[in-house]
Amino acid sequence: MTPYLSVIGVSRNDEHGGNLLSRTQIFVEAWINQAKRHNLSSELILVEWNPPAGRERLAKALRWPADTGPCKVRIIEVPAEIHARYKHGDNLPLYQMIGKNAGIRRARGEFLLLTNIDIVFSNELVQFLASRRLEKGRMYRIDRTDVMADVPVDGTLDEQLAYCRSHALRLFTREGYSPLNPDGSRQSLPGDITGTESGIHFGRGWFPLDRHESGEAFRWIGDEAEILLRVPPGGAVLELDLEPGPGGAALERGPYTIGVLDWNGSHVASWSVTGRTTLHLVLPPPPDDGVQSIWLRVPDGGLGLVHEHRILNFQVFRCDWAELATWDAPASSTLATIRRSRPTLLRMPWGSLTAFRQAVRLLRRRANDIFAIGMEGRLGQGWYGLDEDGGERSRWVGQDAELMVRAGGSRSLAMLVEPGPSVGFGPFMLTIRTAGGQVVARERIHGVTYVEIPLPVPCGAIATLVFSSEGGRPPTGEDPRILNFRMFACGEGSSNATEIPALEPDQWAALTVSSRPPGNDWASILEDRREQIAEMGKPAFLHTFACGDFTMMARQHWFDVRGYVEFDGYSMHMDSMLCYAAHYAGAPEELLRPPMQVYHIEHGIGSGWSPEGETHLFTRLARKGISWVSNDDMEELIAHMRTRHAPAIFNRDDWGLVNDRLPEIEPAAQEVPGMAGSKV
């Protein structure tokens, strides 16, 4: 009977990576137990490559349950004589990919899962596999969670899984690997683009921290990038410093759109960006005090590159909270205020004593700028510097000037303003809107005018206001500035809540603070690759990290691409190339998401790919004269596949040692005296 799933791994009893038998024992037992638990019809194929002379075969060295349930175990041996055919046979004891191919070629499952002998699957994952919802025309991939080495080999399945859940070290995602915090979030790194105390973490879609030659740190983002943050009650302002990358800018010069999805997944803000730009994102009060997930999205990005298979849409140099300014200075007495501000007050229209009183009150509370003591706010575009001409303190304001302000208890804002030259110093209508375009107030300004407007946000939240003048004229005379009006004071108003309009559901606001020319002009840099980039369209950026530990697709697809490249050298990058080949051979990637997990049991340095071990490994290989497919080679081949929309296949029809008769056994249940005994 055809099993639903073949699970294929390669091994030999050589203590590779240290503690090999325990890890294999855990892998084998966990799988058999899970297959039983979820009643998944499967076969577990272990290809035993080049078994070391003088050591027990895996069938003997491991303990095997008497009842393997719906899982059939098959151990297929590739004897030393076959291994000896290979050029580096003396130095490389195990040809992992050819071993896997030998298993694939002989597998009987409808779907084939290629993995390694130090992998444990989460229950949710096996449950999904057992639900028989796998589809042809897909290549299934998953993130890998590395866990500490001491998974209890004699523990129950649930104990082992519990250990894995609570001993995570790092996570291999599409973008790279990231050390994990104890709470499971990805660690920011020293010198990262956010402050150490910001509480901001970078989730899916963020590439690892990178640095320019100048030393400036940045992270690339792809089409979507998740920011995990704890928003202070009342909301806050996030500052982003970024620049378009080749993923959007390779073919034409901007502007490029970058948008924001809020924690509900709705599109709430977007910017149009050219060059290196500082952006502000005003976040409303969060729905709860937990970690929120918001996404940056690049709708027009996604172009492929030629020597780089990642999609690099934007370079983000900073992602941190923008501080709101507060102002303080001793308040002065009413009389002193009147005396100091007499020229201003004298220009107020006569008639309203209330307005006069309010103006004095506002001026009294004015700190060393025009803003009131204790007010929290931030000026956006359209504001000019503090002007203290003739003893009167004010700021000139241009068209569409932006002001962020945190709403106080009264949820209103009071201002003392006066028309400027751009409106002919005459009366004009001042319209105040939210960043979202909702009109908050329209006020007629005539002479020095006291204005009080409601703030359409809850107390403690940040309101983003845009000031525009109707009938403003272009700059006149020699002064190139637009000077619609000037503001002498600004602070909390005195209105009561009854006059306040209905709250907008979410007060997100996207502001552009500053912009300068980009550091890289990608359209010029990539000029001579335009055609190729255009031909690639928007290629998929596949999740190839740790793909040797989990790549699953229908048997036909494995045969279509003829398995892994059977390269007579170290198996670096072969698994990644397979993923791309499969993707272009009609099995596009599908990512399995948490709580589906694969756990990888940590092993010794220098025996396989771990970030710490990489240098060791290459030194060792180079010393022995063993070749491997370099990263550049891989990039080049991926570029071919993307340009030609076709898989690159390297094997001949005899792949997977099809012409060799390989001995195969089903291991018999027994307590192994060696290992299990010594454990006791």
Partner: protein, 705 residues
């Protein structure tokens, strides 16, 4: 892979076409192809099938089965026409611009072919009888990809002629040759024509065969040709032999390390005739013996034993650049008419030194006895001199080891270093060559033993030189023989003072001496019939520092070892290998593109995928019937073709992309395959028919016109 078929033919011939008059005169060309193959298959008893894939037949035109005439008896050849209908064609992205997906069409045929071997070809190809005879001999092997040069012939192959008439036309209407190294026009005798500005003179009669690449230039006035591991020079040696001058510089193919690189010449008997050790741009001489009148061009090969290292940006193997390959013209100037008295007057001091030398070496009596005769002979030698030191009318060349002419009047000489080579063409039979020699500062002006060797190393003369000495070297050779003599002092000379030159001795005159019948010389063994001699004349630093250029590629090229440069020129017209190899490779890459380079790519994949290239050689040939420019590949049409592709926005694999893929295959020592298991439209049911014998409309048209 499919297992072998019952009663499978030995060979499947696969081609594709549609009745759209592609390239002009299409039906005629297909008719010739079909008729010729069926007739040859019959003639040589070759069990075959002829598969024509009719791709996207044009609406409103007859299908090929109707439009062509078919013999009632196709003998050992079964004809199969497989149709790929228009709906299927319409699946492709460029369906509107490209009416025929040539490579996918060929795959359709290959996938359905039943032969043990499959040759993919085109419908305007005629095979020579020798080629079909070879195919019928059953000597094809697995593990090989057979390739052949393509011979382009005129377009008027007689469509109604017999097979022999058609082949005779092809043989006598050759236009050009598509060879591994490039595409060449051919001379009437079938040799590759030289270019107007080439590395040999227009009248030299020297041609360059396989292993020589076409002329290139890095500077406008400095043409050169690269050579691979073995390069053929085809030449007619003048009677009596001649001297060939080569100017060469090592390229990246001989490795990037410093140090001398070896170049060898292989003579017509196949043995190594000369070996040079070369550093920098070097001028070489090769004394070439007569080829004993075998008639036709003789073939001299240059061989690079340590060559064959690859580049990344060029698939060719580039071992040496050859800047010049031409005959050396021997000096042959008449003697100026001078009166005996004038010569004698000037020669007197030298004759005195001559007598003095005789006295010192042989004693006073000998001087008195021989003096008069000696002086007479020396005098005649001086008298007969042309403007240089040689006798007027004696063709000679001072090759390596000689310095410029110095002095004036009778005291005119050339200084000689060690191992100086003198090339002369004898002007009479069995006569000695006389020299007037005097020791130089390199030997402290003291006496020394002069050895004269011939090219095979045998010593012709040992003579003690003391003062001015008259020496005769016996030469037993017919008149007109080109000889290379090496003159050496037994005691090695050395440079003196600031002069870096070694001035061992000087020669005042050389010319014809006494006939050997008179000479009291030692017994002389005649030179072997075929004696070659190699000299290095001058050398200067290389112009291109390949090591620096190629440094960044070194790790890559080292992994490639010494790969082959696969013959991909016109490979769409003939690529033959066992069926299992075609299946292994999944046929041609089925990319939705114009077919440019896809056939070359297959050859490289095959070569690296277990079917190594093997060339089928003359007189095996394929003839390609010329068609209108711009419809397929001809050198003249290439530019127009690219322009058309660009205009229609059709994508094709660029040459750079092909190079990348070749580099990958060379490094990974394996093929690159782009197709899936469904290649060759395996999943589609295609209509297939065997055409019926009848007189088609076309033949009728022919008659009425």
């Amino acid at each position: 892979m499919q297992s072998s078929y019952e009663d499978a033919p030995y060979l499947s011939v696969v081609a594709t076409a549609r009745n759209d008059d592609h390239g002009g005169n299409l039906l005629n060309r297909v008719q010739i192809f079909v008729d010729a193959w069926i007739n040859q298959s019959k003639r040589h008893g070759l069990s075959s099938e002829l598969i024509i894939v009719e791709w996207n037949p044009p609406a409103g035109r007859e299908p090929l089965a109707e439009a062509l005439r078919w013999p009632s008896d196709t003998g050992a050849c079964r004809v199969r026409i497989i149709e790929v209908p228009r709906e299927l064609h319409a699946r492709y992205r460029h369906a509107a611009a490209l009416p025929l997906y040539q490579m996918i069409a060929k795959n359709v045929g290959i996938r359905r072919a039943r032969g043990e071997y499959i040759v993919a070809t085109n419908i305007d190809i005629v095979f020579s009888d020798e080629l079909v005879r070879y195919l019928a001999s059953g000597k094809l092997e697995k593990g090989r990809m057979y390739r052949i040069d393509r011979t382009d012939v005129g377009s008027d192959v007689p469509v109604n002629g017999t097979l022999d008439e058609q082949l005779a036309y092809c043989r006598s209407h050759v236009i050009r040759l598509g060879a591994r190294e490039g595409t060449y026009k051919l001379s009437p005798e079938g040799l590759r024509k030289n270019e107007p500005e080439d590395i040999t003179g227009i009248e030299s009669g020297i041609h360059f065969g396989s292993g020589f690449y076409p002329v290139e230039r890095y500077r406008p006035d400095d043409p050169f040709r690269w050579i691979g591991n073995e390069a053929e020079i085809l030449l007619r040696v003048p009677a009596g032999g001649a001297v060939l001058e080569l100017e060469v510089e090592p390229g990246p193919g001989v490795g990037l390390d410093e140090g001398a690189k070896t170049l060898e010449a292989v003579g017509w008997n196949g043995s190594t005739a000369a070996t040079w050790s070369i550093t920098g741009r070097t001028t070489l001489h090769l004394v070439v013996p007569p080829d004993n009148g075998k008639g036709g061009a003789a073939c001299l090969r240059l061989r690079v034993p340590d060559g064959g290292r690859p580049l990344v940006e060029d698939p060719r193997i580039l071992n040496f650049r050859v800047f010049r390959c031409d005959w050396v013209v021997l000096n042959n100037q008449p003697a100026p008419a001078l009166s005996d008295l004038a010569v004698l007057g000037e020669a007197r001091p030298m004759l005195v030194r001559l007598l003095d030398g005789r006295r010192k070496t042989h004693g006073l009596m000998a001087m008195l006895r021989d003096g008069a005769g000696l002086c007479g002979r020396a005098f005649r030698l001086l008298e007969a001199r042309g403007p240089d030191i040689a006798e007027g009318g004696l063709p000679f060349r001072c090759s390596q080891g000689w310095h410029e002419l110095e002095g004036a009047g009778v005291e005119r000489f050339r200084w000689v270093s060690e191992d100086a080579v003198l090339i002369v063409r004898t002007t009479s039979e069995n006569q000695s060559l006389a020299l007037l020699v005097e020791p130089g500062p390199g030997l402290d002006f003291g006496s020394f033993v002069l050895l004269a060797r011939q090219a095979d190393g045998s010593v012709l003369t040992r003579a003690t030189i003391d003062g001015v000495t008259y020496v005769e070297v016996p030469i037993r050779a017919p008149r007109g023989t080109v000889m290379a003599l090496t003159l050496t002092s037994e005691r090695p000379g050395a440079p003196v003072g600031d002069d870096p030159r070694t001035l061992s001795f000087r020669v005042f005159a050389l010319g014809t001496g006494r006939s050997l019948a008179d000479a009291r010389g030692s017994e002389v063994t005649p030179a072997p019939a075929e004696t070659w001699a190699a000299q290095t004349i001058t050398s200067r630093p290389s112009e291109v520092d390949w090591a620096t250029f190629q440094e960044k590629w070194r790790p890559l090229t080292e992994e490639m070892g010494k790969p082959d440069f696969v013959h991909m020129n016109a490979c769409g017209d003939f690529t033959l290998m066992a069926r299992e190899h075609w299946h292994d490779l999944r046929g041609y890459a089925e990319l939705d593109l114009f077919s440019m380079h896809l056939d070359s790519f297959l050859c490289w994949a095959a070569h690296h995928g277990g079917a190594r290239e093997e060339m089928l050689r003359e007189p095996m040939r394929i003839y390609h019937i010329e068609h209108g420019a711009g419809s397929g590949w001809t050198p003249e049409g290439e530019d127009r073709l690219y322009a058309r592709i660009a205009r229609q926005g059709i994508q094709s694999i660029s040459y750079d992309e092909l190079l990348d893929l070749i580099a990958q295959m060379r490094r990974l020592h394996g093929p690159v395959i782009f197709n899936l298991e469904d290649w060759g439209l395996a999943g589609d049911r295609l209509a297939e028919m065997t055409p019926q014998a009848k007189t088609p409309a076309m033949a009728a048209n022919k008659v009425s016109s």
